[in-house]
């Protein structure tokens, strides 16, 4: 299993948290909140494409809406492989940050 890139990790997490209601607009807004600045659609869709190709997310089309001028929403949900990838990313992050957070924040507070 290939390691996730940071962008992929953010997107997977967003999709997971949005739980069944994840589609383009929501995912972007959520990701923007997490990173604290605008997440672009360019990055969003090229990363989503990769995730789809790797079978980490599953696409599902919803109902057309007026705001979308008659276009359907495409909902994304996490696949079991996606969940597994997220888990292993978490493990990596945990090991990466183990015992460090306190030290880093101490530095910050000085």
């Amino acid at each position: 299993m290939k390691d996730l890139t940071k962008i992929e990790e953010i997107l997977l997490l967003s999709i997971w948290r949005l739980n069944e209601t994840a589609y383009g607009v929501k995912i972007r807004q959520h990701a923007s909140e997490i990173i604290g600045k605008d997440f672009t659609y360019g990055n969003l869709y090229s990363a989503l494409k990769q995730l789809t190709k790797k079978n980490y997310v599953i696409k599902r089309s919803g109902e057309p809406t007026v705001e979308r001028r008659g276009r359907k929403r495409i909902y994304y949900t996490l696949s079991p492989e996606g969940l597994k990838a997220l888990k292993s990313a978490y493990e990596v992050n945990k090991r990466l940050w183990a015992g460090l957070s306190k030290f880093v924040f101490d530095l910050d507070n000085q």
């Binding site: 383009g24 607009v25 672009t40 659609y41 360019g42 705001e67 001028r69 495409i74």
Partner: protein, 869 residues
């Protein structure tokens, strides 16, 4: 929810549609519209507009990255597929790549050759301002244009014409004996030159001062390789060299002469050395090649007009008494090699016709290779049809398929180009041996050339790949996937045309080669009017003079029993003859002609077996023959206006700048003292001992070794200190055809290559045909067809094509070769045999190629070919 009054920007949507990949298009546009609506509802339209455009722009880099990324992935996929195709069809690929590589190697070689020929004397600084001035000596009836002119012209140019920046003279002097200690050689690239030459031509100095190298008498500038040859080092300024027994001080060393100049130098002696010579102030002399450089922005038309009659001011009166006028004209330096063929050119000029011929041949071969590629690619269409069908089903668009196949063709082309470079690299030395042309591989490596190579490669790849790409990409998936095998046979008619064109070109080239070969053979075997076999010639070079003792020297050599005779002469047939004006004495003669002169002793006519048609030859013991009589040839009889040779006898001629007035005592039959490119021209013969430069020995070659040893020992005893040199008259005479023969040989090589490439193509096509008819052949065999019958059936089609090709090629070849043969005064007749022979040759080779595949197909067990399905 608030009603949406304002639509999102339309142009923005259009942009997004371009940026997004197909499958995400709707989702992406929807997302943008949704957010736009949201913002418009809560914060107003302006904000929404602003947001829309900002995000659109922000998205571009990522989309672009994505696009390039997937483009690369796809490209890698194409490459992989191309590589797999190449590997799976090794035979086809070999034919494709080998054919292309050989074709391109030919083209590259020709390109190098043509560039070399065109680059003559273009490397000089301000080369467009450098000219050579030459002279047209006109009488009422004739004019003679000389490349070398009077030594007075150069100083006059500088003195009288403000447009002239500088001018310089040179006299090329062949074969000087150069000596340093034990190192003795005859040197040919030898000249007397003015100091100003270095200001006009670009001749870089390695050592010595270029501003004052040739200002003193007895000084000398040598090339780097000569410094190495005589001294083993470059640091030789101040040292001395002995030339024809005189000492000269070396004042400079220059870089070696480039190959692409008409004026190749190794030794340049100061013109000041000759300042006591009375010729140096002679306005009527024709010995000095004169170069000049004009100032920038000179009106050349006006200047040419002005210099045209520059001699009139000084010697106009005398000239008008003689009834002659001198016209001078200018030749641009860089045009000399290809476009100047005057009397006494320093180097035999190149032939622009050959440049056209070779360029055509190169293009033809490249065309054959390209046709091959197109042919094979479309023929292979059936194999690729399934792939195309599947790609289309999976969603490939036609442009994608076209770019895939174009990419494949580019891959093959560049692969071949690389291979072609390797071939060129290794074939240059071979070509040098075979054809005597020295080309440099490095000419290919300058940026301009590389640009041409890469650009040309792309162009050829696109052209050659365009047709297959369009044919292949046009397949309809439903048809191809159903398993129809007829795909690709649609373009049979076009393939036929291509094969016919290929073979027509090959036939033209073969006919050309055969006719050239026959013409050269004809020239060599033509009876020349004298005996050229078994003649050993000893040139007397490096200042040997035998005016006083030529008789005793002749006796010395003819002592040997295998030497049947010895004669001395100013020149031998095939070597140069000089040209002087003659006048008929006592009769009205306004012709004022000039004729070639040959000087020899009383043994020459019998030894060379030249026939007399009237009068007698020089006789031993007849005192008046010695410096007191003329022989002329039949052509001269005609030129002087007599209808019968007998009329000439007793008439008196004036020649030798009007000094010698003597009677004509005999007329010889015409003999070819020059090559057969020219008609025999009028010739005047005299017995003048101070002109003798060659000893001709008539030898019996049965014991050649012994004779040579004897002659050499006699030479060493007679001319100590002069290296022994000799040549055989027949081979030396044939040297005159060498340049043409060389061209013939190169032509032959390219012909073979062209035919080879065409055959490769035919082989590929034949094997394809056989393959696609496997089942048919199987059924025929089951029904009782014989192997021979099947071979004939498969070959019949190709035979028809080749015959058609012959039909096209013959008129073209006839026209072209007829034109070429006009170069020779004596030439073969173009006969049908050569054409038939070429036709059968090509047909034979084609059938051989095809039958190889046909037999394989015919011999296959029908059970195998019918078993599948």
């Amino acid at each position: 929810m608030k009603h949406i009054k304002l639509n999102p920007p339309r142009i923005g949507g259009w942009f997004l549609r371009i940026l997004a990949r197909q499958e995400d298009e709707f989702s992406l546009l929807g997302d943008f519209d949704e957010e736009f609506a949201g913002i418009a509802g809560s914060k107003g339209c302006l904000r929404a507009w602003f947001w829309y455009w900002r995000h659109l722009l922000l998205s571009i880099p990522a989309f672009l990255k994505d696009f390039i990324f997937w483009g690369c992935i796809m490209f890698m996929n194409y490459l992989r597929v191309a590589w797999r195709t190449i590997k799976r069809h090794k035979g086809y690929s070999f034919i494709n790549i080998a054919g292309f590589a050989i074709g391109m190697a030919c083209c590259l070689l020709i390109l190098i050759y043509v560039r070399h020929e065109l680059s003559y004397d273009t490397y000089h600084k301000d080369t467009e301002r450098i000219y050579r001035i030459v002279q047209d000596i006109r009488t009422q009836t004739a004019n003679r244009v000389f490349a070398p002119i009077s030594p007075m012209v150069a100083p006059t140019l500088k003195g009288d014409f403000p447009q002239v920046e500088n001018s310089a003279r040179i006299i090329p002097a062949r074969s000087r004996l150069v000596k340093r200690g034990d190192i003795v050689f005859y040197e040919d690239r030898f000249m007397y030159a003015d100091q100003e030459l270095f200001d006009i031509l670009t001749i870089p100095f390695i050592q010595g001062n270029s501003q004052e190298a040739l200002i003193r008498p007895q000084t000398l500038v040598i090339s780097q390789r000569m410094a190495q040859k005589y001294f083993g080092q470059a640091n030789v300024v101040g040292k001395t060299l002995e030339i024809n027994q005189e000492a000269y001080e070396i004042t400079g060393v220059v870089t070696n002469s480039p190959e692409n100049t008409h004026l190749k130098y190794d030794f340049m002696v100061s013109m000041k050395t000759l300042s006591d010579w009375n010729e140096m102030s002679n306005w009527y002399s024709t010995m000095f090649f004169t170069y000049l450089k004009v100032k920038p922005n000179v009106d050349m038309e006006e200047f040419s007009q002005q210099v045209s009659r520059l001699a009139d001011k000084y010697v106009g009166e005398q000239l008008s008494i003689w009834g002659t006028t001198y016209h001078y004209f200018l030749q641009p330096l860089s045009s000399l090699h290809l476009h100047s063929r005057l009397r006494y050119e320093i180097e035999p000029p190149g032939n622009p016709v050959y440049i056209y011929i070779f360029s055509m041949v190169g293009l033809f071969i490249l065309l054959i290779a390209c046709l091959n590629f197109m042919n094979l690619s479309t023929a292979r269409a059936a194999n690729r049809a399934k792939e195309v069908g599947l790609r289309k089903v999976v969603g490939a668009q036609r442009p994608q398929l076209i770019s895939q196949f174009l990419g494949e063709s580019l891959l093959v082309v560049f692969f071949s180009l690389g291979l072609a470079m390797v071939i060129v690299k290794f074939s240059i030395p071979i070509l040098h041996n075979l054809a005597g042309t020295l080309l440099s591989f490095n000419e290919l490596l300058n940026p301009g050339m590389l640009f041409i190579l890469i650009g040309g490669g792309i162009l050829i790849g696109l052209i050659a790949g365009l047709y297959p790409a369009f044919v292949l990409s046009a397949f309809r998936p439903v048809v191809t996937l159903k398993g129809a095998t007829t795909v690709g046979t649609r373009s049979v008619s076009l393939r036929t045309v291509l094969v016919v064109v290929q073979f027509a070109i090959s036939v033209v080239l073969i006919i050309g080669t055969l006719l050239m070969y026959r013409q050269f053979n004809f020239l060599k075997n033509q009876y020349l009017g004298f005996e050229k076999e078994q003649k050993l010639v000893l040139p007397l070079r490096g200042g040997i003079i035998i005016q006083e003792n030529y008789k005793t020297i002749k006796d010395l050599f003819s002592k040997h029993p295998s030497i049947n005779g010895a004669t001395v002469s100013s020149s031998v047939p095939g070597r140069g003859v000089s040209n002087f004006s003659i006048k008929l004495v006592g009769e009205e003669d306004d012709r004022n002609q000039s004729m070639f002169h040959l000087y020899f002793d009383d043994d020459f006519i019998p030894d060379y077996g030249i026939e007399m048609v009237a009068g007698r030859a020089f006789q031993k013991g007849t005192k008046t023959d010695f410096m007191g009589a003329f022989l002329i040839n039949e052509a001269a009889v005609k030129a002087l206006g007599w209808s019968h040779p007998e009329e000439a006898l007793g008439k008196r001629l004036r020649t030798g700048h009007g000094v010698r007035v003597n009677p004509i005592i005999g007329v010889t039959k015409n003999f070819h003292y020059r090559g057969l490119q020219n008609e025999v021209e009028p010739l005047v013969m005299e017995f003048l001992p101070w002109t003798f430069r060659y000893i001709t020995l008539s030898i019996n070659i049965t014991n050649l070794k012994e004779v040579l040893a004897f002659v050499e020992s006699q030479w060493q005893a007679t001319f100590p200190g002069h290296p022994f040199e000799h040549f055989f008259l027949d081979t030396d005479f044939d040297r005159q055809y060498r340049a043409d023969e060389r061209v013939g040989r190169i032509f032959g090589i390219f012909t073979l290559l062209g035919l080879f490439i065409a055959c490769l193509g035919l082989l590929g096509l034949a094997s394809f045909t056989a393959e696609s008819r496997t089942k048919e052949i199987g059924i025929r065999k089951v029904c009782g067809a014989s192997v021979a019958g099947i071979v004939v059936m498969l070959s019949k089609q190709f035979t028809k094509w080749v015959l058609l090709a012959n039909g096209i090629a013959w008129p073209v070849a006839y026209f072209a070769m007829n034109k070429w043969l006009q170069n020779f005064a004596y030439r073969i007749k173009i006969d049908i045999v050569t054409f038939l022979l070429s036709g059968f040759l090509v047909l034979g080779i084609a059938l051989l190629t095809v039958s190889f595949q046909s037999f394989k197909a015919a011999l296959a067990n029908p059970a195998d070919s019918l078993r599948y399905e």
